[in-house]
């Protein structure tokens, strides 16, 4: 048996049956991490000892006939934006370098309760701000399909580690596409659940009204397995939904006959790479062949999605990131070295406290984080609030209404995940606006608070994965997972693996 080749579902089954030990599985993936991480940089922290101890404990409990959790022995990688009490949590920022939270995120606690084996923390764009993973203070992640290309972001480490077989499953977070877009660019499956389906407690906040945690795996069936553990009400998150968690894994089998999938003409407009367009059209054809019907739908305000998103998210971020000021934890500038990098208009700091604040934040945050804090601070300022933030909220309501109207006609909406396949590292770093457009198909899901899933639907001639996205109404995860799973039963794109020189 070769653990690296098994799906999460099969690994859990094999361990439960005793066909593989948890230690054996953990060692296989840790070994792979050791070999591959140097070239991919998917992990910021690897906790080999703790993972092996955990796996040994699970094996011992299984041998003793004690009950085991639903994910017993499954190695899971966790995005470094989720708090872990036993590993650093840095959000790939110098600001939080070495920061150890005193508590586990709700999702991390649920994974531990389910006896998952947490192997490490994955690289990401700093504070989840970015679409290429180049905004990490600890180095970019390299796409396993082509190490010169970006894996997407912000959950690029989570996507790359699954694509490169360093973990069978990973946890990501998605604020404007940060699970789906890297999943698409790395050829894996990623689910952005409905806002509130998964508790955000312990997820370091980027934009609170948009952030959502979700699974990133090789298949929809594996996503369904993880969702059963991580979804559900948490009284510690006021925005978390109380709806009962369905048995996602048991709802995958039903055929797609009669499923109505919407197709938005604007998704195929300017900016879409022809190879991506072709792959997506092929996927529509496959769904049709599987019994679904394809219908044209309109999302009239989708074209304002990026503009709306880049007001709502930075506004919330400017407030969420105010706590990183050097006063209580995180990076603090050394006092009195005299290099006044960001003095006020007079060139002098108002007080030693203000100097500490300014210099700590100037040193601790990377350029993209600063850019968004400034955008958000500006848009919330007196005199600009109505023109920017308040207006963005109104457009957000229109976008949400667009989806409600569309879902009155169709069950799901299909289309591309991102306009291009994985792009070369460095290609967009000097052009923030071009980088922002990588989210053009994904931000609507977050603005509307609904669910979306991304999975591979083909490859470019150059061998890069092409992603397909399905969006569904609130709490449509069972349908999103079923549609993707049915598609994956008919195709084998999701089973393809990059050939890595290690």
């Amino acid at each position: 048996m070769q653990p690296l080749e098994l799906s999460a579902v099969d690994l859990v089954t094999a361990i439960r049956r005793g066909e593989a030990s948890a230690v054996q599985v953990a060692e296989a993936f840790l070994g792979r991490i050791e070999k591959a991480n140097g070239s991919i940089n998917a992990f910021l922290h690897i906790d080999r000892e703790a993972a092996l101890a955990r796996a040994a404990d699970i094996d011992a409990r299984r041998k003793a006939g004690k009950p085991l959790g639903a994910l017993a022995g499954l190695p899971v990688a966790v995005k470094d934006a989720l708090c872990t009490s036993d590993q650093p949590t840095t959000c790939a920022s110098k600001m939080l370098a070495g920061f150890r939270p005193p508590y586990d995120a709700h999702v991390v606690a649920k994974l531990r309760q389910a006896d998952a084996v947490l192997v490490g923390k994955t690289n990401m764009d700093e504070f989840a701000m970015g679409g290429s993973n180049e905004n990490s203070a600890f180095g970019a992640v390299h796409n396993p399909w082509d190490l010169t290309r970006a894996p997407g972001g912000s959950s690029g480490g989570s996507a790359a580690c699954v694509a490169a077989d360093m973990a069978p499953a990973a946890i990501g977070s998605d604020t404007g596409g940060s699970i789906r877009q890297p999943a698409g660019l790395c050829g894996i499956t990623g689910l952005k659940p409905t806002y509130g389906r998964v508790s955000r407690r312990g997820l370091v906040a980027f934009a609170s009204s948009l952030d959502q945690i979700g699974p990133m795996t090789r298949s929809a069936a594996d996503c369904a397995l993880l969702m059963e553990t991580i979804a559900g009400h948490d009284p510690g998150d006021a925005t978390c939904l109380t709806d009962e968690v369905p048995r996602y894994t048991e709802m995958l089998e039903k055929p797609l006959t009669g499923l109505r999938i919407g197709r938005v003409a604007e998704h195929f407009g300017p900016g879409l790479d022809p190879e991506v367009a072709h792959g997506v059209e092929e996927a529509f054809a496959a769904f049709k062949a599987a019994g679904a019907t394809i219908h044209d739908v309109e999302l009239p305000h989708a074209k304002y999605g990026i503009a709306t998103y880049y007001l709502v998210a930075p506004c919330e971020a400017s407030s969420n990131l105010a706590r990183y000021d050097g006063a209580h934890y995180g990076h603090r500038a050394e006092p009195g070295r005299g290099h006044r990098t960001s003095a006020g208009p007079t060139g002098e700091f108002e007080s030693p406290l203000v100097e500490m604040y300014c210099r700590s934040r100037a040193e601790g945050f990377g350029p993209e984080v600063k850019r968004r804090i400034m955008l958000g601070t500006y848009a919330l300022s007196a005199g600009y609030y109505d023109a920017f933030y308040a207006k963005a909220l109104r457009v957000r309501r229109l976008i949400r209404q667009d989806y409600l109207d569309a879902f009155a006609q169709v069950d799901l909406i299909g289309g591309p995940v991102s306009p291009t396949p994985a792009f070369p590292l460095g290609e967009k770093t000097s052009d923030p606006l071009a980088m922002y457009l990588v989210d053009m198909y994904t931000v609507g899901t977050n603005l509307a608070g609904i669910g979306g899933i991304s999975f591979p639907c083909g490859f470019t001639k150059g061998g890069l994965p092409i992603g397909f996205q399905l969006q569904g109404p609130a709490l449509s995860e069972p349908l999103l997972l079923r549609a993707a799973d049915r598609y994956q039963k008919l195709t084998d794109w999701h089973t393809r693996r990059p050939k890595l020189a290690t």
Binding site: T89, A238, S319, L321, R323, A327, L380
Partner: protein, 503 residues
């Protein structure tokens, strides 16, 4: 400048005052986390990821705090919004670990109320409108240690996240004395409601005052002129109601002097913040916080809006009990005591009123009970400190003493001595009466005593006989010496009767 500028009997201006009051709600736990709100614990021992503002932490509303705030707002005659939300007020300060305070901006949970204050001595009566009451979390405490020139600042976050109710009045108050009276009434109300302990020393109640002067200017040729308004000044750092009154007196006088010198009117300069220096008795200009002009308020995305149903409002109303104004009128009416007496009793709090009513019921006379409450119980309580619940003498015991006085066993001053002895010794009234040798004087003894007095004082007897009844007073003093237990009233009456009966 003098420490306390004197207020002229009739100033050539009107002092206009509005108050902003912050009260800590009496909850066991904080507004958005489960940490204790207990005062006085070692620094940073009542904290968790949420009130420390750690990455990833989230707030969850304490519904009990919200309900208490609704109760306070209802008692302040406010309208309760059926839908309210939370907002973030963004600013940087070391005692604000998240970099924002969760507060309420454009949709406070309540607004448009009023609270009336009537001075029991009739000096003023004022209905003060309340603009809004909203709920917010408190910040931590910065302790500046300037010792040894290190200018070290220490932060205690135990208080961070404690629920605070902010009550904002219209500028309806017209004198520092009224402001103090209104604050007393507000504090009393909130204590009655069980909403806050309003302990200013512990920071449970904080007051900022906005004050300016309205100065009538004479018009041309005797016509009505206009009103000039001086720039509004916000006064902070007042840690007692007395300080509030003193600061306002000072500030009004200061503004008047400034007006006479500069004639600068409101709008010609930005609103100024001044801090009250209590020992010096003056206000001083305070430096403005850099960001104070723009808090970049926006809706708090980590919390959901709060809805309040009519049923919940009804429940809150039922939990309120009678407010002090209602209670004062009810006490005066029921026990036939003066408005002033009712005010004194009600101002001592709900427990003391209950104690009084129990006493009055036992005694059967509200006025007598009220006199004893004020002259004996309250006076002793004020000297000893503590609450009525901790008072060592029971209402039953006081009623026992009053009953004996009413029966004529001894007079009120003797009763007072007994009260003091019961208080000091912890013995029963009967025991004290026995040990002090205060036995009721029998009628036979009284007759014998009086006859002895008459025999020894022929001059007085003759005077009384001659129509000077007041001469009998001389007998009473002697009777006291011969038998301290003799009731002076009875002695007097008996002597008069005996003299009348003489041939």
């Amino acid at each position: 400048m003098s420490k306390q500028p004197a207020t002229a009997a009739s100033e050539p201006y009107i002092t206009v005052i509005g108050l902003e009051v912050h009260v800590q709600l009496q909850t066991q736990t904080k507004l958005f986390c489960g940490c204790s709100t207990k005062f006085g614990s070692p620094p940073n021992t009542q904290v968790c990821p949420t009130c420390l503002g750690l990455p990833g932490s989230l707030p969850v509303m304490n519904r009990h705090a919200f309900d208490l705030a609704v109760r306070a707002a209802l008692a302040l005659n406010c309208k309760i919004a059926p839908f309210t939300k939370w907002d973030r007020k963004n600013y940087f300060y070391p005692d604000l670990p998240k970099g924002y305070q969760i507060s309420q901006y454009d949709l406070p949970f309540s607004s448009d109320g009023h609270l009336e204050v009537v001075d029991p001595k009739g000096a003023f009566s004022r209905k003060v409108d309340i603009i809004r009451v909203h709920l917010e979390e408190d910040a931590g405490k910065s302790m500046h240690d300037e010792a040894a020139g290190t200018a070290d600042t220490r932060i205690d976050l135990n208080r961070a996240g404690t629920p605070l109710c902010e009550i904002v009045s219209q500028p309806d108050l017209r004198s520092p004395q009224e402001a103090r009276g209104w604050l007393n009434e507000l504090k009393l109300l909130l204590v009655y409601l069980g909403v806050s302990d309003c302990n200013m020393q512990e920071g449970s109640l904080r007051v900022d005052a906005n004050v300016n002067l309205h100065i009538p200017l004479p018009g041309e040729g005797g016509a009505d002129g206009r009103i000039a308004k001086t720039p509004i000044v916000e006064i902070k750092n007042m840690n007692s109601f007395r300080s509030v009154e003193r600061a306002l007196i000072y500030e009004a006088a200061r503004q008047w002097e400034e007006w006479q010198a500069t004639k600068i009117e409101m709008g010609k300069m930005p609103k100024q913040t001044r801090g009250w220096d209590d020992p010096a008795g003056i206000t001083r200009p305070q430096r403005q916080k850099e960001e104070s002009s723009d808090y970049r308020y926006f809706p708090e995305p980590d919390l959901v809006p709060v809805t309040v149903s009519d049923a919940e409002i009804a429940t809150a109303r039922a939990a309120m009990g009678d407010p002090p104004t209602v209670l004062r009128a009810a006490l005066a009416e029921k026990w036939k005591i003066s408005a002033y007496d009712a005010d004194v009793l009600v101002n001592q709090g709900r427990d003391l009123v209950a104690w009084y009513e129990d006493l009055a019921t036992r005694v059967g006379e509200g006025k007598v009970a009220s006199n004893w409450m004020q002259q004996d119980v309250l006076r002793t309580l004020n000297e000893r400190g503590g609450t009525i619940a901790e008072f060592p003498v029971t209402s039953e015991q006081v009623a026992d003493i009053i009953g004996r006085v009413q029966k004529g066993d001894f007079d009120t001053s003797r009763g007072r001595e007994i009260f003091a002895e019961v208080l000091g010794s912890g013995k029963s009234v009967a025991d004290v009466v026995a040990t002090m040798g205060i036995a009721a004087v029998s009628d036979d003894d009284l007759v014998a005593l009086c006859q002895e007095l008459l025999a020894a004082n022929p001059k007085i007897v003759a005077d009384v006989k001659g129509g000077k009844e007041q001469a009998a007073a001389g007998l009473i003093g002697q009777a006291k010496k011969k038998n301290p237990n003799a009731n002076p009233g009875k002695v007097r009456q008996m002597c008069l009767d005996l003299i009348k009966a003489l041939p």
